[in-house]
């Protein structure tokens, strides 16, 4: 399917030429092989996805390791992310400076963590960061309210939202400080059977 798409793209000739560079690139990408959960083929495929996001910005030849960042708006409009209520947080967590603009490394990192091969603890760690909207290393009540609002698209009343947040804190707050630390969160995730299957993006 991606082949068809590439064939209809305007710069098809340049792409064919560029694919010849891919040998060198795949050597470059083999460096990434053990750093992510993807195989070399998948990394190449992901690279082409990344490149497709911003063909003018991202060069096909990565052997010179250019410092290129794809802006958040393009990342957020990827089909895998566009319907996700947390896409902005995901991009922020995995980007270099927390602004959502991602380099190729960030891109690979993101999908590697969100792939089905990543272990639970790794996912829990990043999930914690995603749900921590104010980046204070704790999920406080305000973070929870933001999460619930995003989950329900703002269609629950404020009273309901605060009740839910209260219940979540009751359930998960182990040290009773009114907010969830990473430890609390990880303990809670251990008891959440769906987490591994839902915290997973297929690409």
């Amino acid at each position: 399917m991606s082949l068809l798409y590439h064939m209809t793209s305007p710069s098809v000739l340049s792409r064919i030429l560029a694919r010849s560079i891919s040998l060198r690139q795949s050597a470059l990408f083999s460096k990434n092989k053990d750093c992510t959960f993807f195989t070399r083929k998948e990394i190449m495929r992901l690279f082409y996805r990344y490149q497709d996001l911003a063909p003018q910005l991202v060069p096909l030849d990565y052997t010179s390791c250019p410092d290129v960042k794809v802006p958040y708006e393009l990342i957020g409009s990827m089909p895998e992310l566009k319907d996700n209520p947390f896409r902005q947080r995901i991009a922020q967590v995995f980007s270099e400076d927390g602004d959502g603009h991602m380099t190729l490394d960030n891109f690979l990192d993101m999908f590697s963590v969100m792939s089905e091969m990543a272990p639970r603890d790794l996912k829990a760690y990043y999930a914690f960061k995603i749900y921590d909207f104010n980046n204070d290393d704790y999920i406080c009540a305000w973070d929870l309210e933001q999460t619930v609002t995003k989950l329900t698209r703002g269609e629950l009343s404020t009273e309901e939202v605060s009740l839910i947040c209260e219940k979540v804190l009751d359930e998960a707050d182990g040290d009773h400080d009114g907010r969830l630390s990473l430890e609390d969160f990880q303990n809670m995730i251990l008891r959440a059977p769906d987490f591994l299957s839902t915290f997973h993006i297929r690409i």
């Binding site: 319907d83 922020q92 400076d97 490394d105 963590v113 990043y126 990880q186 809670m188 008891r191 769906d194």
Partner: protein, 758 residues
């Protein structure tokens, strides 16, 4: 001395005098950490607190470069090119060295204080090699400048995730496991940027040079073995049936619908294996002998203790056969099908004599039955164990239901706008339902005794009604079976075609009607019983499941009673009504065969004759509000799952009497898979194309009917060569409609029923 690992350009300045350096060498050069009991003992309170936690096995590599330390090399270098980042510069390299030598546990979640704890725990450690170089390194001017800078860029540190391994949760088992566990497989489990991981990996690779030959080889072989295992696993997953289809369904529609299809796939495989068992054990010897492939012969042993009359089985072969008899025979298993391998009655052989031994066929038949029943049990239990564990956890979910929904509720796989809308509304519904349940629980606690009595008497009354409905259904099935059995015995030729089929299929028709009507009745009744929403749904599902399975039991029981009922002394001879049922096993097999065929016909007919006109109406009459509301089809997971469970139950019951039934079941499930899956994906493709065409997606679920209409229209114009099936475009959408919230087919279904797992 040796170049600091990871630095490609800048060799470290080494103002470190001898002893410190040598002491540092073990940390860099040779991985096996000396076992230091003192160190273990004084691991520090932080570490002990950690070990108390039950966590999976260790990745022993300590946290990566300190948060502050590589920062300048990392952070400042962030705008620079990759190679420089990999080298990290001087500070990064030293940071790497330091981190490698750091062996203490780092409490998670406190990155800001990390370096200090680090030092404290290290100083607590009486390890012979770690503290001197560390203390020394701390005095390096570079480190001090880093420490100074670290405080100013704290916030960015936290975000980049350079610090830790989340796998801070992993226990530290430094002794001796540093070597084995520090391999590429564990690097990627760290919560680090890829660049950091690359640096770690380069460090690790450089270290390999300093290992002994044996260690190097061990590492290399374990790495390649792990890669081989991964590749093999990848290969075997390619062998999975329908892997791509199910993955695309999961990706687009979420795990609920995917679990239905994966359960369907499991049943296809199960039936295939059952059929293979039966084929190998029963059919193969017979076929080999019949077609003279091997040099064997049949043995017929006349039985002594059973009256000869009981074994007489006249196959009715009438002279003049109407042309439609063949159709009837195919549909009902009578006539020419009766004498085939399909039914029990055909297997009259008592043994197959091979060269060296005699193969006892009746024993083989019996053993094959036991074998495939045992296999089914074991396989299903194995498959359910995971689901059972999950359910066990889920049963204690009361104290974590909110967390699960908030943090693990959103399915990140969803890529479809309509599915996303559905998920939002389903989460909303679930959260509201939970709050509601809480409120009702409180209300129940506050109920007065008068109200309690009233509620309980009402419930009793309604349960009696439910029982009455069930009894009525069972009686109807009983009567229909009796009627059908009696009239089947009349001359088939004398009847009209339609009437004939109707009589033959009467039990199946009544069962299907009953299974269709009773859920509606149950859903209406439960509304008055005033249970909490979760309990309502569970109870309705329970009643529907009971209904489905009990109808088959009633059918079997009726047949049994009919077979053993006789007016006079006839039964004493053979134990059953020999005159009416010369081979009762075949008759039962025929009933099961009919049930199975009818089930398949109904599923195909509903898809074709109900969904397709619905789509047409929605497409062309979308202006009518009635059709707009009614038009969307629901992929009601519990109903569908009950349907295939019902099919499989028929297969199990009938397989003894009709050995080829599992093969028919396999084909049936394959057909069902394609019939159900194709429209699901078709509608999705059309919607995507339409969205692409229009340039934007619909904003909320109100537009869905319009979209379905448009999609259908577009799709129609797009492909004129349409067969009905191909352009069939039911809009399979999981809808939550508040009115149906109390019903079994309603929304919480995808959560409440994870059929694939249980």
């Amino acid at each position: 001395m040796e170049p600091v690992p990871g630095s490609s350009g800048s060799p470290p300045a080494s103002p470190i005098p001898g002893p410190g350096r040598r002491a540092a060498a073990p940390s860099v050069g040779s991985w096996p950490v000396p076992r230091d009991p003192a160190r273990r003992g004084s691991g520090g309170p932080a570490r002990r607190a950690w070990e108390g936690r039950r966590r999976p096995a260790p990745a022993s590599m300590t946290s990566a470069p300190e948060p502050g330390i590589p920062a300048p090399g990392g952070k400042a270098g962030r705008r620079r090119q990759l190679p420089e980042r990999v080298s990290g510069g001087l500070s990064g390299a030293w940071g790497a060295v330091m981190s490698e030598s750091s062996i203490s546990a780092l409490p998670p979640g406190r990155p800001s204080r990390q370096p200090f704890i680090h030092q404290e725990s290290l100083s607590l450690d009486s390890s012979c090699f770690s503290s001197p170089p560390v203390n020394f390194l701390q005095e390096l001017p570079s480190y001090r400048s880093i420490a100074r800078k670290r405080t100013t860029i704290l916030s960015r540190d936290k975000q980049s995730g350079t610090l830790l391994k989340p796998t801070d949760s992993y226990n530290f088992q430094l002794e001796g496991e540093l070597t084995e566990d520090l391999d590429s497989q564990s690097i990627r489990k760290y919560a680090l940027n890829i660049s950091e991981k690359r640096r770690l990996r380069d460090i690790q690779e450089t270290q390999m040079k300093y290992l002994s030959e044996w260690d190097q080889w061990k590492r290399y072989s374990s790495k390649s073995w792990k890669r081989f295992i991964e590749k093999a696993r990848e290969m075997t997953t390619h062998l999975e049936l329908w892997r791509e289809d199910i993955r695309s369904i999961e990706g687009k529609f979420g795990t609920g619908i995917q679990s239905y299809f994966s359960f369907l796939r499991f049943l296809v495989l199960l039936n295939l294996v059952i059929f293979l068992i039966i084929f190998m054990v029963v059919l193969l010897p017979v076929l080999l002998t019949r077609y003279k492939i091997t040099n064997s012969s049949f043995i017929l042993i006349p039985s002594q203790d059973v009256d000869i009359q009981c074994t007489v089985y006249p196959i009715s072969s009438s002279g003049l056969i109407y042309f439609y008899s063949y159709v009837i025979d195919l549909l009902s298993g009578t006539g020419f099908l009766e004498d085939t391998y399909l039914f029990y009655g055909h297997y009259t052989i008592d043994g197959v004599k091979f060269q060296n031994f005699t193969y006892d066929l009746p024993l083989a038949y019996l053993l094959s039955t036991i074998a495939y029943l045992a296999l089914s049990l074991v396989w299903i239990v194995k498959r359910s164990v995971e689901g059972f564990k999950i359910n066990l956890i889920r049963s204690e979910e009361h104290f974590q239901s909110y967390c699960n929904k908030v943090f693990a509720g959103w399915d990140f796989c969803i890529t479809n706008r309509s599915m996303a809308d559905l998920k939002h509304s389903s989460l909303r519904y679930e959260l509201r339902a939970d709050l509601e349940e809480e409120r009702i629980r409180q209300k129940i606690a506050e109920r007065t005794s008068e109200e309690t009595i009233r509620i309980y008497s009402l419930r009793l009354f309604l349960n009696c009604i439910v029982l009455a409905v069930l009894a009525a259904c069972f009686y109807a099935i009983y009567k229909a079976t009796i009627f059908s059995q009696e009239h089947m015995k009349k001359e088939i030729d004398k009847m009209v075609f339609g009437e004939n089929l109707l009589i033959l299929y009467l039990p199946s028709i009544v069962i299907t009607l009953a299974n269709f009507i009773t859920p509606i009745i149950f859903a209406k009744i439960i509304h008055y019983e005033d249970y909490s929403p979760g309990f309502e749904i569970r109870l309705t599902i329970l009643r529907c499941v009971f209904m489905r399975l009990a109808t088959i039991c009633v059918l079997v029981f009726t047949l049994g009673s009919k077979i053993t009922s006789c007016d006079n002394y006839l039964c004493e001879l053979c134990g059953y009504n020999q005159k009416l049922y010369p081979c009762w096993e075949t008759q039962v097999g025929q009933e099961m065969y009919k049930l199975m065929i009818f089930d398949l016909i109904i599923i195909l007919a509903v898809t074709l004759f109900v969904d397709f006109p619905r789509k047409i109406l929605v497409t062309y009459c979308s202006s009518w509000k009635l059709f707009q509301c009614w038009g969307e089809q629901e992929f009601a997971i519990p109903d569908n799952v009950l349907g295939i469970v019902y099919g499989q139950t028929i297969c199990w019951i009938g397989a003894f009497f009709s050995p080829l039934l599992p093969a028919i079941a396999t084909l049936k499930f394959i057909i069902i898979f394609y019939v159900k899956e194709h429209p699901v994906l078709q509608s999705l493709r059309a919607i995507h194309q339409l969205q692409h065409h229009l340039g934007s997606g619909p904003q909320d679920s109100e537009h869905l009917p319009q979209l379905a209409a448009d999609a259908g229209l577009w799709h129609h114009f797009g492909s004129l060569r349409s067969a009905f099936f191909h352009d069939h475009l039911p809009h399979y959408v999981l809808l939550h409609r508040p009115g149906r919230s109390a019903q079994a087919g309603g929304r919480p279904a995808p959560r409440a029923a994870e059929p694939g797992k249980s």
